[in-house]
Symmetry: C2
Subunit: 449 residues, 2 copies
């Protein structure tokens, strides 16, 4: 009995259940956890999702909606629902989840949904909608447990029990003073363990990490990961509590950020939805390919310049592709290691310098080894030691350039405040193409003609 | 007062402090949190780390060691420490952290350290060392709060307080029956809120996710992320509790897995340490470059085959590099989107089919648009419409191949149970090189000679 092990047969099972009438489907659905229904939603049609959501109780339906991936468009389900049920579901959602979903809608649709809510709920969500979604403000939940510093153990426990009627999940209790200024945190365990006459002021831990609403989400993730905390308070400039960001938000952020890194390094716009349609994909990738085309013209103009040489020694074309391809791949290797290192650690100037030096050495050795293989190949197949020498030198030189640019360019971008992942393989391979052709064809013109 | 905001001046400040004598350095260190010292360690010399660790109290030193990145080699600090202090530090560490660090040592060094520990500690760590580090067993902590199902509210609270003397951090309380069989979880909050005469059996939540020691770490991360839980129990086949994996372990796993994805897709061995030296980097990357060289020979043999054509129309060499380069980059785009999508979602056969179809369409459109630009270029600079037509067709064809292989190959690998990220850009670009050259030079031979 492995409880939640969603096995491969569940998707076909649920799909088959869609043939049943509403009553039977309801019974089948009751066997699934909301997270499971959310996963199953990814492989069924929007109309079927709508039917299922309409069949579920408000409580389960709101859980399913909050667990759905953004790409399955939970906001569309909300939009097409009966307004009364929709209002109930939105009221059931945590403010941060409701905000995430509502933020995907057009302004007039947002107004329609918010208009049906209580004034308190609507103004809370409106406030959250005003923060940039990549910041602590955009991630935070505005519901949390907050107690006064001067409470006694017994009163504090009563207060926590009272507040926890509304806030089901909490990991940390926030402490404020009489002026509502944040003072630190306390754990339920420490309160329980305290002596009967203890006051919260004796138990509070003041030395804790916190952020402001405009703190970047990557910074929030770093703090939560670094201090192994389940939630971090979000404070305004007067040190009033605005909300909390919890570890599960951070896990989602990490997954998103890493998708972005892989896409950007590969020359795909970070906004491309992984399961988007071809129109979105063309919009996201064509601009990069056009940039690549411009740089490719640059590289090909080097080849054009040496056309007379190529007319005389046509086999150089075959070696050209090898040198350029190897340079591109070596540069991508250096780039991937460096970009990832920059995103995990803050490098000092000295470390940055040593990184470039290391990549220089790696390029030199890998270039010499693979250059030697091609040299031997040229001896055997073209019986031309001088051609082999030219190729060996071009390969070694190009792999050194690959290492230095693959590591150096993202480090320079980081230093001047540009996202280093923008130094995608498209940009870096231009260098290795241009320099690879220059080295090979330039030397060939001097030494082989 | 942003408490833990490690600013850029801290590193130079601590480095300067290294000039001070031990007493002064101790005072300066006392102002820093263990996590901060661990970060600062990344940019100072091993000898200085050793000096600082030796100056710190056992409690802080063990925290610093557990927070250090694997790549800063905390195990070497332990090894070079006075054996008595080392034993105290290891005893202070959580078993899972101690195991992670000790596992980096040679077997005789492990024996030396374990020999100094109490029999209980040593056997716990020995047990953990036996699990694969990429599994729940390798991640789990063997210390947790466990109570009997039949306890009353009051006895349960007493028992939790007693056990929490040993286990500082806990998020979930595990419940077992009289036969020590896992029954579910309960939160401290629910116990506190329960009526005075309530028993744990009325409060326990049985419907929870759990894993076995050999569950893959990615699966563990998925469950914790999916169900938003702070910790997941690890059970043996008889449903006895072995340990728990907590959300902070999962955050580390996600960072590691994502580094691996980026490295593999770029043709770097997943074992390469980001801050490793050039020897490790050569070992990790040279094999991929040699594979790339073999595939590059394949592509260049196509060029060789068409040498007579290239001798007559040397300008084809210049266009060759454009077609190959564009194909490689378009393939990398399709690859990145598909690999990332596979790693986040389980795709059905139908979704896989539609993904390849989408990439076919994207390749067709992006190929036609960029092909048209090159066609115009060929008209203007080479005044040769037929050459332009050949290039247009080759570009379109190659970008279609790029899309279909970039998406199709990782999907096929996934289907047959091979890690899709192994379909690195090195493998995929071979296809676009070979087919790009075949299309361009083949059509040129037929139509332009």
């Amino acid at each position: 009995m492995q409880f939640f092990d969603l096995d491969k047969t569940d998707v076909p099972k649920l799909k088959a259940a869609l043939q049943a009438d509403d009553e039977a489907l309801k019974v089948i659905l009751s066997e699934y956890h909301a997270s499971e229904i959310a996963i199953l939603f990814e492989s069924i049609h929007q109309d079927d999702r709508q039917r299922i959501i309409n069949l579920l109780d408000v409580e389960i339906a709101s859980e399913v909606i909050s667990e759905m991936h953004e790409e399955a468009h939970p906001e569309e389900l909300l939009l097409k629902m009966h307004p009364d049920k929709r209002t109930e579901i939105v009221e059931e959602l945590d403010y941060d989840d409701a905000t995430d979903i509502i933020s995907q809608l057009e302004e007039h649709e947002q107004k329609e949904i918010l208009g049906d809510l209580s004034e308190d709920d609507a103004s809370n969500i409106r406030q959250l909608l005003s923060y940039d979604e990549d910041t602590a403000g955009g991630l935070m939940n505005t519901e949390f447990i907050k107690i006064n510093l001067n409470l006694t153990k017994k009163d504090a426990i009563d207060e926590i029990i009272r507040q926890s009627e509304e806030i089901e999940e909490f990991y940390t209790i926030f402490v404020v003073n009489d002026f509502n200024i944040f003072q630190g945190i306390v754990s339920l365990k420490d309160i329980i363990k305290a002596k009967g006459n203890a006051k919260i002021t004796e138990l509070v831990k003041a030395d804790v990490a916190w952020v402001t609403p405009d703190t970047d989400q990557e910074e929030v993730a770093k703090l939560i990961s670094q201090y192994n905390i389940t939630s971090i308070p979000v404070l305004d400039e007067q040190m009033h509590l605005l909300g909390r960001v919890t570890f599960d938000d951070v896990i989602d952020v990490l997954e998103d950020e890493n998708t972005e890194d892989i896409l950007k390094i590969s020359g795909v716009s970070e906004d491309e939805e992984l399961s988007g349609n071809w129109v979105e994909a063309v919009k996201s990738r064509l601009p990069w390919l056009v940039i690549n085309l411009a740089t490719a013209f640059l590289a090909s103009s080097v080849v054009r310049y040496f056309e007379p040489t190529l007319e005389k020694i046509a086999v150089l074309s075959a070696y050209m592709t090898i040198i350029a391809g190897m340079g591109g791949n070596a540069a991508t290797q250096a780039l991937a290691v460096t970009v990832r290192r920059i995103s995990l650690y803050d490098l000092t100037d000295n470390q940055a310098y040593r990184t470039v030096l290391k990549e220089f050495t790696v390029g030199l050795i890998n270039g010499a080894v693979t250059g030697l293989i091609v040299f031997i190949f040229a001896l055997v197949f073209d019986a031309n030691p001088m051609l082999g020498f030219v190729i060996f030198m071009a390969m070694t030189g190009n792999l050194v350039i690959a290492g230095v640019t693959g590591a150096g360019i993202p480090l320079i971008l980081k230093r001047v405040g540009i996202d280093p992942a923008i130094a995608s393989s498209i940009i870096i391979t231009t260098f290795t193409d241009v320099f690879g052709f220059l080295l090979l064809l330039g030397m060939a013109s001097k030494l082989l003609l």
